[in-house]
Point group: C2
Amino acid sequence: MRILHTSDWHLGRIFHQFSLIDEQRHALLQIIEAIEVHKPEVVIIAGDIYDRSIPPASAIGLFNEFVDQCIGTLKVPIIAISGNHDGAERLGFAANQLKHSGLHLVTSLDQMQKPITLADEYGDVDFWAVPFHDPAQVADFTGSPQTDFNQAHCSLIEQLPINKKYRNVMISHCYLDGANESESERPLTIGGADRVDWKIFKPFCYTALGHLHQPQYKGQESIRYSGSLLKYSFSEQHHNKSFTMVDIGPDGSNKITLLPLKQRRDLRVIRGTLEELVNAAKDDVNHEDFIQAVLTDSQALLNPMARLREHYPNILELKKERFETRTGQDYARSSEQLKRTDLDIFNDFFEQVHEQKLTEQQTKLLQKTLAAINEQESSS
Amino acid sequence: MRILHTSDWHLGRIFHQFSLIDEQRHALLQIIEAIEVHKPEVVIIAGDIYDRSIPPASAIGLFNEFVDQCIGTLKVPIIAISGNHDGAERLGFAANQLKHSGLHLVTSLDQMQKPITLADEYGDVDFWAVPFHDPAQVADFTGSPQTDFNQAHCSLIEQLPINKKYRNVMISHCYLDGANESESERPLTIGGADRVDWKIFKPFCYTALGHLHQPQYKGQESIRYSGSLLKYSFSEQHHNKSFTMVDIGPDGSNKITLLPLKQRRDLRVIRGTLEELVNAAKDDVNHEDFIQAVLTDSQALLNPMARLREHYPNILELKKERFETRTGQDYARSSEQLKRTDLDIFNDFFEQVHEQKLTEQQTKLLQKTLAAINEQESSS
């Protein structure tokens, strides 16, 4: 049984006021190509298909395109669960009708009581799809109180009518204790009560997880996050995004292959003085990447965002290191910065605009003018 | 071929801050019962399933319940088009997959190029489902300019590959010229360019229309609005809401039966003085209806909404006739109203609170107090 496992698409994500829909389409096309090439028997989407409970129409349109390609053209079924970003009721519309077409949308705890069974030449594989849920929802569903996500998850899995004669695959959207988080995941709760112990997934041949954005496994290789479709924060600049191909053998053993996702425009952090960054752009073939620039200049700068945008058209964020971190030597420098006179600051400004320093005569005139202003201010 | 034709459900409608979802569920259950009893071969929903392009989750849930009952339990297919209130792209998600289950969602002009064909013992019936569209969308689709809705509609219908050997049914969401409108329909455009000539539907055995909320036909009996699910404005208080059962014979002739929709709570206007209305409530078994009260009192009233709500718990709107209509005699009365002194107004107030008139002594004290206040105001 060959499975493609992906998750955390976040279709409709707006990143620093920039719609990522074209990036998302570019990535989904790579998944479609992989389906054509590798011919999996099912595609799993482990939650957070959309970025929010009411996604924009363009995001719904894009998911629709994927479904048409995957199910309509390539005849490969999809099993998808709702994540903490999805609106379960909206996503689950007509789920009972859609499952006959091969689109299995599992968005309620009711639905997860029955496995989705697919067969290969060695027999049946049962897929148990657990939609995202919080302890209160599980308490409501099971009729017994649930103190945290771990207990809630255990309660749900324990009561499943699992048949151990078959190979069993688990699909869940949760935060495994000890796994690596990224800045772009929305916390499930405050204070760590959201963590789930990986050991509860040991009985399954494979566990296809969603929620954390970095591809990784926890405990054993078969308990795995595919990671997100794109880099969704600058903290993920060094992630290698991918999706996962899993071949489950007749004995339930599995072989895992990571299929890389090439980003249409990469997302990265550049660091240096304004002049250094502007100069570096000239030889930078990837100057159209999404950029966060960290400026190390110590003097005042005139509209650095506009200057950088001339060279990096998709710059999204600007940070000034001097004002960001005030520890040790930095703090000393920053204190020096505060000591600079009006004359020093005007000098910086003049130099940037005219690309030359003030002449001696201009300096004298400026000093005189500043003195006059100061005098007027103190007498008023 | 037996058809049930309904439209303009407006699921998720909020009426004077009141959610109508329970009323809508009550009405849909009657349609489900009719499907069980009359066993139609298809249910047509001629647009405006939802009240707005982003409906609340409860409205999506309710439509989902209907679909599960109709298609899942009763095995009757549905053909639905998007109306001017629906968000076409949202409503149309997974339409290609859903049509195999019997849920035909036609929300784009592309889709309408192919009929949905259903067969009875006499042969095929082709259903042509035209989603709501404006002239600009049709111009974009056909590649030729469209001056108004009538021209746009004609262009679309003329180019359909209709096979006259079969019986053909048209489904459309539009405003037929000369038909009766209600206050609760949202205008399609300004100035009458939204009207469509009924004659363009003459070639069809039956035309199932949506948009206008009063059940009615125009031109010929087979060109028909089913009307809305509920009364959606007080102007519709005298409508008899219904849905339509159509039996199409082997020769394309049809027999039409209106199936009444009983409103869970009726919606009506009551008129009289506050005292008259409060007294009438005592014998009014339908005092839980949605009420618009028109008060005919000429004197000032103390919090009449609260007093009426004690007796009519679902009163939604209050109008004061004296302030509403200022023509002829009414205007004269209203002018008189303005001439009333502070003493007269306080008298009204006192009488309502204590249910007795001011005594002579109280009147004198009040006159003295009012005189003192007036004096103080004019001297300050």
